[in-house]
């Protein structure tokens, strides 16, 4: 199977759709049309490619980890999205969306952020394209990620605290959507993951498929084919969607590592929130539950609809990882390879460290979606 385009109404199997207020529907339809045109326009593609190369620093390297491979007994390869400008894979998507927004004549970007990585990336793109930028961030996350808040402000963005509900990522999404409802005519909602109403889950995956396409070529050169396993952390699931897109048509086992306290696929209850139908952590009455994770970027009770489809169809598996295992993995990669991973990306490391017996001697491609500088303070508190 391959990761194909969704239906015209944005369905991946039973999942996806456009569950937003009528006010936003024309904007979603306009965005769908604009993205389709841009994505098949060689001028747009070459402009974006140019930015990805000269500004974001692509292609990102593939690093073979000799020490970690020896320790785990499998051949570990890292796709180094941590080396991108702004320190994570998020830049791929925001450069695409900002370029598209500009093309659509929008003058302002609004975004949500959890760990701050997407917020920083959006603020960066806004600075580059000389656009206004408003970023919503949960009050709890603002406290956890002070450095990224400062970065966004330095880049000229306004950071607004989302004080409702659990005051984390899901509430930042609510606030960003409310803002968008109020300012839809001149503002583009620069959504940070493969979630939300159509066309976002598809468009964001397409902007990130460069990760998978590059890795496919790099693995071909190094291994002579696809790796045995491809693993990525999953909150909303954008970095996983990007790397999976390059390998969905191979025999590689695709694994999404979910935080145990935010395992939407693990619980497998379908729901509708933030514009799409997908798996969603909720109580028996449909009230959305608060996810709990050591990493602010994965602190989300849902998952992108295409992941729900990949799970339901059996093409990908989704495995829970505990906070304690993540703390171990964070130290493991730092110690063995001299690479400090983002706590989000450490979920993928933690999964293979746990599942290594199943994959002895196999090649395992890990999407190292971000670097851990932003998490060092938090880890210092945990470890000391």
């Amino acid at each position: 199977m391959t990761m194909t385009d969704p239906t015209a109404t944005g369905r991946f199997g039973d999942f996806g759709g456009m569950y937003v207020p009528e006010t936003l529907i024309p904007a979603c339809i306009e965005l769908d049309k604009a993205f389709r045109e841009a994505w098949t326009d060689p001028t747009f593609r070459s402009e974006l490619d140019h930015l990805l190369t000269t500004y974001a620093g692509r292609p990102s390297p593939l690093t073979e980890c000799a020490n970690l491979s020896e320790e785990l007994g499998c051949r570990i390869l890292l796709k180094r999205e941590d080396l991108n400008h702004t320190g994570s894979h998020k830049i791929n998507n925001v450069l695409g969306q900002a370029l598209l927004a500009k093309r659509m004549g929008k003058t302002r970007l609004v975004a949500e952020t959890g760990a701050g990585q997407h917020g920083v990336a959006t603020a960066t793109a806004a600075a580059l394209f000389d656009m206004e930028c408003v970023v919503y961030m949960g009050t709890v996350d603002i406290e956890r990620q002070k450095l990224n808040v400062f970065r966004m402000k330095l880049l000229g963005s306004e950071v607004v605290a989302a004080e409702s509900g659990s005051q984390t990522l899901k509430d930042a999404v609510n606030e960003a959507m409310r803002y968008w409802v109020s300012a839809v005519q001149d503002t583009h909602y620069c959504l940070g993951s493969v979630m939300g109403p159509h066309p976002y889950p598809w468009m964001v995956r397409e902007f990130h498929r460069v990760i998978g396409d590059e890795a496919r070529e790099q693995c071909q050169a190094l291994l002579g084919g696809a790796p045995d396993v491809v693993v990525a952390c999953v909150g909303g699931g954008s970095n996983a969607a990007g790397i999976f897109a390059g390998f969905a048509d191979t025999d590689a086992v695709l694994v999404g590592a979910e935080p145990a306290g935010g395992a939407a696929v693990g619980r497998a209850v379908p729901g509708i929130v933030h514009g799409s139908k997908s798996y969603l952590m909720q109580d028996e009455w449909g009230q959305v539950l608060e996810a709990e994770s050591i990493s602010a970027g994965l602190d989300y009770p849902g998952i992108g609809p295409e992941h729900a489809h990949l799970a339901a169809s059996g093409r990908a598996r989704y495995e829970p990882v505990s906070d304690a295992e993540v703390v171990e993995a964070f130290q493991l990669l730092s110690r063995t390879e001299g690479i400090i991973p983002a706590l989000e990306s450490a979920h993928a490391i933690a999964w293979i460290a746990k599942a290594k017996d199943e994959f002895q001697g196999k090649s395992v491609l890990i999407n190292l979606s971000g670097r851990g500088d932003k998490d060092v303070n938090q880890m210092m508190d945990i470890l000391q």
Partner: protein, 258 residues
């Protein structure tokens, strides 16, 4: 078949009057049901009962706060419906909630529960035409009126489709934004009311940003009436009690009848 809400609104209109549909958050305070009855007596033509949802993206701070407080008190959709089933409200009611509340219970079961509780209509602001089929099928089967939204951003070609699918009334969104009281009525309120009125015979009520009796009167120069939410819910949050809330609804009624 014309449902109870549409029948009531059409009756008000054919008498030369303007329609008033207050919104109250279900489960907000121990006396919420008494408040609903008092509001019915104070001149509401129909009443929207909000069933709280954890992530109400179409709602501003007032209704968000009401949602949170009601949920913290242990409110569930079933509890609200059970209370309504045992009460004699005297005017037709619609439940307003979000898609996931209905989807989680199951479209059919939720619509049947509404019907069994004496609720005539259902309003789901995050279900646009594109996603409406499952819901409207279940609602039609259970004879529940499906209120649909028309927004200032809706292009002309969508309006007839929205109106055709709508039951009870067409909910014209008064401004680009979420629910809440504003100092002035937005120009977009009259504009969208006019655009929808031009293409349908069904009652057209404007809501979102209609917070004072004067604003309700102003918008009803074009629309068939108004939906008033945040202003009323704020009274509930302030602890005004059934009489205090009914007093405000009475003020709206008097203004609209003048």
């Amino acid at each position: 078949m014309t449902g109870a809400i549409e029948t009531a609104l059409r009756a008000r209109r054919s008498d030369g009057g303007k329609c008033l549909v207050p919104y109250l958050t279900g489960g907000l305070g121990d006396d919420w049901l008494e408040t609903v009855m008092a509001v019915a007596d104070a001149g509401a033509d129909a009443i929207e009962i909000g069933v709280p949802f954890s992530d109400p993206v179409m709602d501003g701070p007032t209704i968000q706060a009401a949602n949170d407080r009601s949920l913290e008190a242990g409110t569930t959709p079933q509890r609200i419906l059970d209370a309504l089933r045992d009460a004699d409200i005297g005017v037709p009611m619609a439940v307003m909630t979000y898609a996931n509340v209905a989807y989680r219970m199951g479209w059919e079961r939720f619509m049947n529960e509404l019907r069994a509780s004496g609720v005539s209509g259902c309003i789901l602001p995050d279900i646009p035409l594109e996603e409406a089929d499952e819901w409207t099928q279940a609602a039609d089967d259970a004879v529940v009126e499906t209120v649909m939204f028309a927004a200032p951003t809706s292009p002309d070609e969508r309006l007839p489709r929205i109106a055709e699918r709508a039951g009870g009334f067409v909910y014209a969104v008064g401004l680009l934004g979420i629910t809440g009281v504003r100092a002035d009525l937005a120009a977009s309120a009259l504009e969208i009311a006019g655009r929808v009125k031009a293409i349908t015979e069904k009652p057209v009520l404007v809501g979102v940003g209609v917070g004072t009796p004067a604003q309700a009167v102003e918008v009803s120069a074009v629309a068939d009436g108004a939906v008033v939410g945040s202003a009323i819910v704020q009274r509930m949050l302030d602890g005004a009690g059934p009489e205090g809330v009914a007093e405000l609804v009475h003020d709206f009624r008097v203004a609209l009848d003048a």
